[in-house]
Symmetry: C2
Subunit: 213 residues, 2 copies
Amino acid sequence: MESAAARVTGSLRQRVLTGELKPGEPLSQSRVAAEYGVSRIPARDALQTLAAEGLVDLGAFTAVVRGTSIAELQELYELREAIEPLVTRIAVPNVGRAEVAMMTALLDEMVSHPSAIDWLGANARFHALIYTRADRTRMIELTTQLRRLTDRYLYLHVDIFGETGRLNLEHRRILEAVETGDPAEVAELTRLHIAASHDFLLRHLLREPAPRR
Amino acid sequence: MESAAARVTGSLRQRVLTGELKPGEPLSQSRVAAEYGVSRIPARDALQTLAAEGLVDLGAFTAVVRGTSIAELQELYELREAIEPLVTRIAVPNVGRAEVAMMTALLDEMVSHPSAIDWLGANARFHALIYTRADRTRMIELTTQLRRLTDRYLYLHVDIFGETGRLNLEHRRILEAVETGDPAEVAELTRLHIAASHDFLLRHLLREPAPRR
DNA sequence: ATATGGTAACCTGTATACAGATAGAGCCAT
DNA sequence: ATGGCTCTATCTGTATACAGGTTACCATAT
């Protein structure tokens, strides 16, 4: 069974990620509680969880949907570029046929032009299939969290579909290197893959009017 | 003013870190609440916070003080070795005389043989003085958290004082490189500093009977 | 027009109360 | 004696209630 708090957390997370709840929007415990038909306690739990994930700010007065900034984006990508290649290097020797098969399927799924949310989901699962085999619980948790936060920038500021071609190609290269079984090569491709997304986002953000609040 | 939840969180954190609360010890909301003379809600908040920090496990039935393992230690140090040199490289160009002066004072403090808890505190502040100047909120937060978790292993399993000589020397080298203003050099010295602590802990842990639960 | 003070609406932190879930002790059958 | 079952202690999740604190607005004074 799923607790009310978990349900609210999951729903709010989606709504913040997709931009339905906009940066700066206040999320009071009472209103969240009323909206989901629960009491304030699970609403409060959900907001605390999301705050720990970095999706909302827990101000003194009321919680607000966290804003975005180029400085934060920079920081998030610096972390991803440091950690994901590390996990990759550790994981690749343990990646077997089962994972390769599933990654191939996910690659097809991404090529078949799904919605943005589905594409990003498949993308996350693609990389997760490698990372899981590193057997590093905390690293994987951290990676998931960082990826969620950067994906938010994609949702909010960018139309992905100009780039899926390049991204699909990079994924194919990564998959090939996985099959070859060269950890350092996969790690380096992963780093480049992340750096490319960073550049891509940066180009779009610098073109936008002003960082939304 | 400090909320009841914050007070409980801080106190429990100390008690878990120093080993007064041992790995595996159950922490029920009710007992924590009773012990601190508060209601269950702030106790619950405190346990959630500590769970997010990785100091307790939030099982289905009751929260328990998180255990230690060589695998987790490995993972924590891998992360620290990846992130702290990165923050260092970014921060060093912004470190000024004020920081160097304070770091010198902290170094003296550490040389003067304080208690383990004070030594570790000064040590944390020493490195934090560099990191702060990187202006990377999330990285610093993450670094703080990782350091706390590894410090716990020092408290639980090791008597530091065999090693303070080496550690003080490494700190002095780091400080010198900071004064010279060579980011790459400070970053590398930091990485080695962390790796040395990892090795040190590992040697002691492998000598112990069994990983405590 | 601008500054000031008071008030109402809203929000959080915390306490208390209740229902459902879980673990462990003891009992029963084999 | 042992395996399984039931019962009770305890625990968590959630609802509701209350006591401050904060914000914003409006009326009033300058």
